[in-house]
């Protein structure tokens, strides 16, 4: 019971991070039908942005409380990562739109390599540590020497994720921008006939997905305290798995998928073997693709148009 609770807490934390990244995959897929394989590396770069700004605020500006430094670093990372993603879309994807289907995919894999190699050269190949930002845990219960704890870090991650997801959900469901995004997703030509600037809407979708990835990147940095140039790959693929599991194109699906992948991974580590946690996560991807290709909340392909 105690182990179960502890893994539940850990899994939800991890799942929040995956969910934030997964939204970027699912939105871009929804609007242009492309799997943006560089998204994981955009996430990794955002963690480096957060790291650099965090250290900058802590040392040079001398901001005493690490929480404020982290928050400012996160906001700056969101802006810069958004810009980065905007540029990538303009340079590497938009010229290929209307080309054959695999072209943007290959371009995205290329961008992914460019980003991770650039960080490897610019930031070095080793783990980059940050001093601990938030300490402290709350003991929830203790029995037979096993304590169920939740750390402040975990609380922050879950809270930040929940707040941003709510804000994001509001934008997509209730604002003109969100309506334009959904219109482009459903019928780009008709959206243009109604005055929607489709290219701009697609760009903004990339920016929004990247900003959420930057939130995930900042949280990742805070949680693990280190980041590494290759850290885009595995979380990226797991978030992609989450998007597919939840039903690619579906926003609630991305969040649900993220939580499930996080939970599967931590429960697997807790009850079976930590070495095989990635095997477990990716086996899920294979199983889902075979038996439930539309995912949990994905829409079935029957619709009257």
């Amino acid at each position: 019971m105690e182990i179960f609770l502890q893994q539940l807490i850990n899994g939800v934390t991890l799942g929040s991070i995956y969910g934030l990244i997964a939204i970027g995959y699912t939105m871009v897929f929804g609007i242009i039908g492309m799997v943006n394989f560089s998204h994981g590396d955009v996430f990794m770069v955002s963690a480096f942005f957060a790291l650099i700004f965090f250290l900058l605020f802590m040392t040079i500006l001398g901001i005493g409380t690490p929480i404020i430094a982290l928050l400012l670093a996160m906001i700056l990372a969101m802006v810069l990562t958004g810009l980065l993603s905007w540029t990538i879309e303009r340079v590497a994807y938009r010229p290929l739109r209307g080309s054959f289907r695999l072209a943007p995919l290959i371009s995205a894999i290329g961008m992914s390599i460019v980003l991770s190699n650039f960080i490897q050269v610019a930031q070095g190949p080793r783990n980059k540590p940050v001093p601990p930002m938030v300490n402290g845990t709350i003991d929830l219960m203790e029995r037979d020497g096993f304590a169920v704890t939740v750390s402040y870090k975990q609380i922050i991650i879950v809270l930040v994720t929940a707040v941003l997801l709510a804000a994001f959900w509001y934008v997509v469901q209730k604002t003109p921008l969100g309506r334009a995004q959904r219109a482009c997703e459903q019928d780009r030509k008709m959206a243009a006939l109604l005055g929607v600037n489709v290219d701009r809407t697609i760009s903004l979708t990339f920016v929004m997905g990247a900003s959420l990835a930057a939130v995930a990147g900042s949280m990742y940095l805070m949680y693990y305290g280190v980041v590494h140039f290759a850290d885009g790959f595995v979380p990226g693929v797991k978030a992609f798995t989450a998007a597919v599991l939840g039903g690619i194109g579906s926003l609630p699906g991305a969040v649900l998928g993220g939580l499930l992948i996080g939970l599967i991974e931590t429960f697997w580590s807790g009850y079976f073997s930590i070495d095989y946690k990635d095997v477990a996560a990716f086996s899920i991807l294979a199983i889902v693709l075979i038996f439930m290709p539309q995912g949990i909340l994905g829409r079935p392909e029957v619709e009257k148009v």
Partner: protein
């Protein structure tokens, strides 16, 4: 300003449109003046829908010119053409399937940031009370006729200077067709709305329209007032006999 007021609202000159290597419009000339209802009739595959879409810049004309209010729009991107208030209820209706009726109408009013939404939506609900009953239903689950009404209503929500309707009577019950044609007529008479109408239903369309064009194989072969065209034996033979209501 005076030049724009004098010329026709929409002027299409020598427009050629291609799909890849295949030519669909072979040099089309059409005028639509302010306050007119102009109809375009022609057989299946003549190029009627292509002309409507070409006016909206999707696909763009490869040759020729299109001017709206005296301004050349031939190379303008589709969304900017829409901002000049050219609205289209396109072939196939193109309702956003996973948006509600309300959201589809909001998309129509997006150009004005919903500034006139409340009053305009009441107006289209008066035209199509059916839509009001279905306000929360997803577009993709509406019946064909309801989708047609929604497509027209959505186009009206843009506050168009030129309303282009591609076969608005398609799939609708005769009574509804009659209502839609009456609505077009009324909007035209009371508000001076300019309408460019593609129709298979040539008899109704020509009776409603001030002027008409006949398109055959990507070319305009005849034009005249609605009455003139209705009386031409060729037209009666090709588009009216047997299809008359």
């Amino acid at each position: 300003m005076s030049a724009t007021m004098e010329g026709p609202l929409l002027q299409v000159r020598g427009v050629k449109t291609y799909y890849g290597k295949i030519i669909a419009l072979k040099g089309v000339d059409v005028d639509v003046k302010r306050g007119e209802i102009v109809t375009l009739i022609g057989a299946n595959g003549a190029g009627k829908s292509t002309l409507m879409m070409t006016i909206c810049g999707s696909p763009q004309a490869r040759e020729g010119s299109i001017t709206f209010e005296g301004r050349d729009i031939t190379r303008m991107p589709t969304h900017e053409i829409a901002r000049l208030r050219i609205a289209q209820s396109p072939e196939g209706r193109r309702i956003f399937p996973r948006m509600t009726v309300l959201e589809n109408l909001q998309m129509g009013a997006a150009l004005d940031k919903l500034a006139y939404f409340d009053q305009d939506v009441e107006r289209v609900f008066t035209l199509f009370p059916r839509l009001k009953e279905r306000i929360g239903q997803r577009g993709g689950t509406l019946s064909g006729g309801e989708q047609q009404m929604l497509a027209i209503a959505r186009a009206l929500m843009t506050r168009p200077k030129l309303l282009m309707l591609d076969e608005p009577s398609l799939g609708l019950a005769p009574l509804i067709v009659k209502q839609i044609f009456e609505a077009i007529d009324e909007l035209n008479r009371t508000e001076g709305l300019t309408v460019f109408l593609v129709e298979q239903n040539a008899y109704h369309a020509l009776r409603l329209a001030h002027r008409g064009y006949v398109m055959v194989n990507g070319l305009i072969t005849m034009s005249g007032t609605g009455r003139e065209l209705l009386e031409k034996p060729e037209i009666r033979a090709a588009y009216l006999e047997g299809g008359r209501h």
